[in-house]
Symmetry: C2
Subunit: 186 residues, 2 copies
DNA sequence: CTCACATGAGACAGTCTTGTCTCAATCCCT
DNA sequence: AGGGATTGAGACAAGACTGTCTCATGTGAG
């Protein structure tokens, strides 16, 4: 891990905990002098922008790695479900890098990040819509709502882990089951 | 609505959009001079604290209004489900006042708010646990996870409305169905 | 009309933040 | 060991934020 990466990771952690963290806070958290921090990112906005870019990269990689495009093309419930499981698992694997704090507040100011977000969001929605057509997911809900629900369940996972409500190893199972099957007893 | 309430409402809106908003921003958003803002809340922390208190008040009112305690006492699936529906609907009714941005970042600094949060959270978890015992909710998930899932689905709702993905009038239905039944076709 | 009161504008000092710069210490490669 | 690059500490100026204060304006009740 390069020093730059370490700084970004620390900054993400810090900013997720407190969006008001100063550059000094960020440098300290990274175990680095403030001057060094500024050597890597001349401006706070530049740091934020890179953070956003990385998050979007991760998101994109997750979708590519889970084979979203192929699953959509297949149009089959089986592959789509497998893809969805894989995708959620990947999301969960780095949901602190993924930056929930980040998703909302900073992105708005950067049109390029906004556009990419929208694009990725659409691709995810396309997967969910394909799941509906294939009979995997209920079709009486707007697929864009399903996309929001995915986001929500990830926030729930983050919340649960942060407050020590569930063990990290149970996460995948809990998230998948809750998203697909809901919470009603059967 | 008193001027104080108007200021609080504007501040909440503002801070949810950007936690770094300055007192000047907050005053402007409330359509009020900065001096007046300081007349009501001598300190930023004082404003934040009051905001937190109000959110917790709302939460508490929702649970009381939905009859959480009675539902738990009944131990019956029917009343518990009705209570849960009512509760979610109440949460949704004021999820901007409810302060999602607020729940995480500011609360930590105020022990009294933290404690109240924990207490309310426990009461909500108790309802969900009662739902499990009554055979309404699946019992193979930790009730504390269910509580996180409730939080997550509310974040999803907020996200969906913010980005115009679904109409507000569909919210209750979407949230309830998704939480209870999940997203799998049947 | 008048007076008490609340408000907005803005001055003000103190503090914090940001971005730049310098310098000495340290590290690493040869 | 020598020499170039990187680092941390810290000085520095510019600007922003906070909290306090004053004063002129405006509003409403009596």
């Amino acid at each position: 891990m390069t020093s730059r990466d370490a700084i970004l990771a620390a900054a993400q952690r810090c900013l997720n905990a407190d969006a008001r963290a100063s550059m000094t806070d960020l440098a300290t958290a990274a175990g680095v002098g403030r001057a060094t921090l500024h050597r890597h990112f001349s401006t706070r906005d530049e740091l934020l922008h890179e953070l956003g870019t990385r998050s979007l990269d991760r998101w994109q990689q997750s979708m590519r790695g889970a084979g979203v495009a192929e699953a959509i093309a297949s149009g089959q419930a089986g592959p789509i479900e497998a893809c969805l499981r894989d995708l959620l698992s990947r999301y969960l694997a780095d949901f602190d890098d993924f930056g929930f704090t980040l998703t909302d507040p900073y992105l708005r100011s950067a049109p390029d990040l906004m556009e990419r977000t929208e694009q990725l969001s659409e691709e995810e929605t396309a997967l969910l819509a394909a799941g509906q057509r294939a009979g995997l997911l209920r079709a009486d809900l707007d697929p864009r709502w399903l996309s929001s629900a995915v986001y929500g369940i990830l926030v729930a996972a983050r919340d649960a882990v942060t407050f020590g409500r569930i063990a990290r190893r149970d996460l995948d199972e809990y998230v998948l089951v809750t998203f697909l099957e809901g919470t009603r007893a059967r």
